[in-house]
Amino acid sequence: MTDLGIAARQLRFEQKAFWRNPAGAVFTFAFPLLFLVIFSTLNSGARIQERGNISFVTFFVPGILAFGLISACYTNLAIRMTVNRDFGILKRVRGTPVPTWAYLAGQVGSSVLITFILFVLTVGLGVVAFGVDFRTGTAPGLFVTLVMGAACFCALGLAVSGLCPNADAAPAIVNFSIFPLLFVSGIFFPLDNAPSWLTSVAKLFPMQQLANGLQYAFDPRTTGLGFNGGDLWRLLAWTVAGSLLAVRLFRWDSAKK
């Protein structure tokens, strides 16, 4: 089998394992979709003045896309890799001839596939149940932003798993590293009236860059293909930093040498 074939097979089995683990699937899927339903229902009919009078749900769907992407690529991948390391799965894999890149590609690919399914469900639910306006004109920008976001958060997820000492600590560390920033990144509610220092700090982090890039593609005032250049460059910078960190921090084995 080719190395690419090995990666594809790894992805297939990661998916099997993912869907059989109720806790993982629920956390990754139910949360974003539940948030979408609850917040959109609570705010049905609401419009956001600061965003050109768009409906709340048109503002909210890209935020949920960002949240879902971060759950699948960052939270899920970081915890999964820490568990795999702590349980000795990585050590076992290391003893086989599987190339490191093919194994990791299977892991990352599984997270990207989950992101894609979440994307389809979120946008589908938004359009069908809440009348979100999905704009094909800005779809290229939306798509590229999602791909870059997935790359960025997978790299950061791998890096953070290198920092987690063990499987028990992983969920706490990973969630703590993400939730405060999610709230100040304008994902769940617009921050147009928030203190400017807070939004300036948030803009330094990839959560805000991703959310803003996705919201830009959904914004009815956006013209062109929906690329928000500034956000994408900053995401790229985080991707590079995350990848370098991931390479530096990656460990096959939890035990101290």
């Binding site: 993912f18 349980f87 000795g88 799965i89 050590k91 290391r94 086989t96 599987v98 084995d253």
Partner: protein, 299 residues
């Protein structure tokens, strides 16, 4: 060419020298038992051979390769069964095997692996629902997935009940029939005795004895013949033996039990003397092992 060749192996952690100059060979097709107390440097050496750790000094060759270089072409040819290594808990037994077989260029068929370790009935069971012994058998099957020439087995039967242990031994013996080389680490002396063609004992970072389990550390030279004389009498010349008398009880340590017994029983019959409670015992592998490791701890 030996399957494993180790010369002058050393490994230090900071200022602590865990492995202090170790030499040994493992021949192709041999079951090699590697014995030693915890903290003796056993795991360090095994993990150096498996490519998990880097040595500080010395030469190591595994199937002609330096394991420190982590080459795929070496990992294709070895199988590693570690202690306490997890496996994807939400996959079924056959799925895990299929996944791992996919890592190797010429894997063994999944059905064959299941049969080899006796898990045919469990092929559709989710891994997390397996018992400890079944998990260990799955570990073994995963180590054999690539049809390796050389297999590292680290404490393969820890936690097994006696029946499961016998079954596992049968699997290991089958590997020898297939011409595989087995590097077996174990704490169970009966396991080493039953399986190993040759054992090495490591203590305090050095190999203190090396040889077939039956002859380790002059074990075959140390048969003890015990009896008491009735009526008391002067023993004949028994040749080069050590005689310890304790009242009427006598212990004769001999290198050649057959000859010594021949003289002794012949003499007793001629004289009409009874050798009460005559027993012939050999120190067990465990006796020898405990003596060797205790001695190393004293040095």
């Amino acid at each position: 060419m030996p399957a494993i060749r180790v010369r002058g192996l050393r490994k230090s952690y900071g200022t602590i020298e865990a492995v202090r100059g170790v030499d040994f060979d493992v021949a192709e097709g041999e079951i090699f038992g590697f014995l030693g107390p915890n903290g003796a440097g056993k795991t360090t050496i095994v993990e150096i051979l498996e490519g998990y750790r880097q040595r500080s000094a010395g030469d190591v060759e595994v199937l002609g390769h330096d394991p420190a270089r982590g080459e795929r072409r070496l990992r294709k040819r070895i199988g590693i069964v570690l202690q306490e290594t997890g496996v994807e808990r939400f996959l079924r037994v056959a799925e895990v095997l299929e996944l791992y077989c996919g890592y190797y260029p010429e894997p063994r068929p999944v059905d064959e692996l299941l049969a080899l370790v006796g898990l045919e009935d469990k092929r559709n069971e989710v891994v997390k629902r397996l018992s400890g012994g079944q998990r260990r058998r799955l570990d073994l099957a995963l180590g054999l997935a690539g049809d390796p020439e050389l297999i590292f087995l680290d404490e393969p039967t820890t936690g097994f009940d006696p029946t499961a242990r016998r079954e596992a031994w049968e699997i290991v013996r089958n590997l020898r029939e297939l011409g595989k080389t087995v590097f077996l680490t174990t704490h169970y002396m009966d396991e080493a005795q039953h399986l190993a063609d040759r054992v090495a004992v490591i203590a305090a970072g050095r190999i203190v004895a090396d040889g077939p389990p039956d002859r380790l550390s002059g074990r075959d030279d140390a048969t003890e013949i015990r009896f008491s004389l009735s009526p008391p009498a002067e023993l004949p010349d028994l040749g080069p033996v050590t005689v310890t008398a304790n009242g009427r009880g006598v212990v004769v340590r001999t290198a050649d039990a057959t000859a010594t017994l021949h003289i002794l029983t012949g003499w007793a019959l001629d004289r009409g003397i009874t050798l009460d409670g005559l027993t012939v015992v050999r120190p067990t592998l465990e006796d020898v092992y405990l003596e060797l490791t205790a001695q190393a701890a004293r040095d």
